[in-house]
């Protein structure tokens, strides 16, 4: 798995002493990663942006997105298992909404931050 042999850094370089903390909580890290991963897909994030305008049922979302209900349902499933959205039944319909204010803020902040930040000398490196 590790390709290079032992003698990597016998002599310490100028930066960094070995003050690394033992380990980050792996379980928490996994949950955080799952949450980010759910957000990290344009179609799913668009769905959240849509829901940030208010609750909606699957068929309405499907129409808004011009996609099949199956597709939307699958996307919502991912968002739901990351606890980003909640659902309730209303007659024949299932209404989805952002899980809480925390998620609302997260979505708005992400979009706001991504709306600035370009053009301003951020060309390539």
């Amino acid at each position: 798995m590790n390709s290079q042999a032992e003698p990597l850094c016998e002599e310490p370089h100028s930066h960094r002493r070995d003050t690394r903390k033992p380990g980050v909580d792996e379980a928490a890290l996994g949950r955080a990663a799952e949450l980010f991963a759910a957000l990290g897909d344009p179609p799913r994030l668009r769905l959240l942006a849509l829901l940030a305008q208010g609750p909606a049922c699957v068929s309405d979302l499907a129409e808004d997105e011009q996609e099949g209900m199956s597709t939307i349902s699958q996307r919502l499933k991912v968002l739901r298992s990351a606890s980003l959205v909640r659902r309730r039944r209303q007659g024949k319909h299932v209404i989805y909404a952002l899980a809480d204010q925390h998620v609302v803020d997260l979505v708005f902040n992400a979009l706001a931050h991504a709306s600035e930040a370009q053009v301003v000398g951020e060309s390539k490196e």
Copy 2:
């Protein structure tokens, strides 16, 4: 692409009138999604958590993670193209660090939030 025919919702249901705003800025949404996607992988997020403790060169990160340098370098590449980390040369070494305080906060908040939130009646549904 869309499987069902026209007559989906001729009669409006009780919820939601068609007050949807025309469209979210697709470019911003794409950048936000790319950022989240970069964060949405445990090994990459662990790397950021490591860098949250201070800058480090690739070989040190590789040793900490017990992985090959190539692997670490590829992960850093993803983080870098999402503007999450910056790099500078120091002699033979390339030192990576979190891009700015904003990213530091993001990482800490994500881990903090993911550290709570379980066990508290959040079993499955």
